[in-house]
Chain length 211, copies 2
DNA sequence: GGAGAATACATGACCGGTCGTCTAGCGTCT
DNA sequence: AGACGCTAGACGACCGGTCATGTATTCTCC
């Protein structure tokens, strides 16, 4: 077993992060104990506060890392040179697939970690709220850019406000994910595409083009 | 069948329910302690378990009572003989007003209690999940009826699926309420009307009629 | 109308357990 | 020997929940 001489000699931090990510997704923040995280990570509890300042600091790190990964995924899907509406549709499909995979692995639809924590903690932990605000703002930015392109191509209704529509789409995603989690049914997400077409006021006769 | 009222009578149960409703709205379920609820209600902790079997049983009661009240409000707004779209619009305005009032009183947008608890508890407490599923189902029913009427009047697009559209509207409400809570800004809700018109595919030229 | 009996509620000490957090010190390396 | 990476174990506070005991109110029966 090779271990580098300098820097960390333990992967405990990563194991904690990995376990915490899954547990927070499944059980939220308040109902989750540090001991449980450490047990799931196979790391002694005494080590926790060597790697993290506090439970809240861990949550912030988990949030940040999860957003880095998700943003990369969103950018990969939304940043192609395909048709803008097509890109949005693929985002929805990817979102649903994520929930299906999570359900297969853990038995439950975990929903959106950011949405979950937003409702649970935004009124209790200002730092977490700020982080989540920034994340949702960035999500809206990413979608707004694609909506603008769709408008420029005449695919979206000329009357739609790009940013407003992007916010509506994000809200629609969050609302649908809530229903999917409540019903433990990822299929709740496969109306996102149709909803999106409505919110973007895409004319009925041009919808089959991207279908 | 009469029930003799032997012994004392107390309003402690109602005081607990009242306090619990506000605290659950503001701080969620897991982060809330029985002792804190009792302190806020001005009831000794020992009395709590005389009136409620458990903390979870209290939550179920709070959920039920809150839904009874909210359903009455929804029915009052949606059950009039006014124009269907007009009724939907008033529902959105009432929703926003509820959040404004809560914000004035407690300083924070509390969001939707059912949505909050759905994301926090649906994967932890099956009984609560069932209750919340039934509530959202009933909400969708209430809106579906109005959407159907709007369709019959030709106000909504003929291609819309009433139940699907109702679900989309509920999802949109929940998503917007999430953003309103995260940003502590009830104004996030005043695009609900426009979103609803989009989701119902109401023709642009006929929108001013109800505006 | 007065005396119990029965019921309805009040109360706070207390239980085992878990919470997030911290510190003293272990083992391993230079 | 000294520094460093790591961890065992304990800390006080608090968790949801229990219980013995006390008091207030209304019942029945005379």
């Amino acid at each position: 077993m090779y271990s580098p001489r300098v820097g960390r000699t333990s992967d405990a931090r990563n194991k904690i992060l990995e376990a915490a990510k899954q547990l927070i997704e499944q059980r939220g923040y308040s109902a989750l104990g540090v001991a449980e995280i450490c047990a799931a990570a196979g790391v002694p509890k005494g080590s926790f506060y060597y790697f993290f300042e506090s439970k809240q600091a861990l949550a912030l790190t988990v949030i940040d890392e999860h957003w880095v990964a998700q943003r990369a995924q969103w950018e990969a899907v939304l940043g192609t040179d395909r048709d803008p509406l097509r890109r949005l549709r693929e985002l929805f499909e990817a979102t649903e697939e994520v929930q299906r995979v999570a359900q297969r692995r853990s038995g439950v639809v975990v929903g959106c970690m950011f949405g979950n924590l937003a409702l649970e903690l935004s009124n209790q932990h200002p730092e977490i709220r700020e982080r989540l605000q920034a994340i949702f703002d960035a999500q809206i930015d990413l979608i707004e850019a694609v909506v603008t392109q769709a408008k420029d191509l005449g695919e979206a209704g000329g009357a739609v406000d790009s940013r407003g529509a992007a916010r509506s789409i994000v809200a629609q995603i969050e609302g649908r994910v809530l229903l999917a989690k409540l019903l433990n049914d990822p299929a709740q997400l496969d109306t996102l595409w149709r909803d999106c077409l409505d919110l973007l006021q895409v004319p009925t006769n041009s919808r089959t083009l991207v279908n």
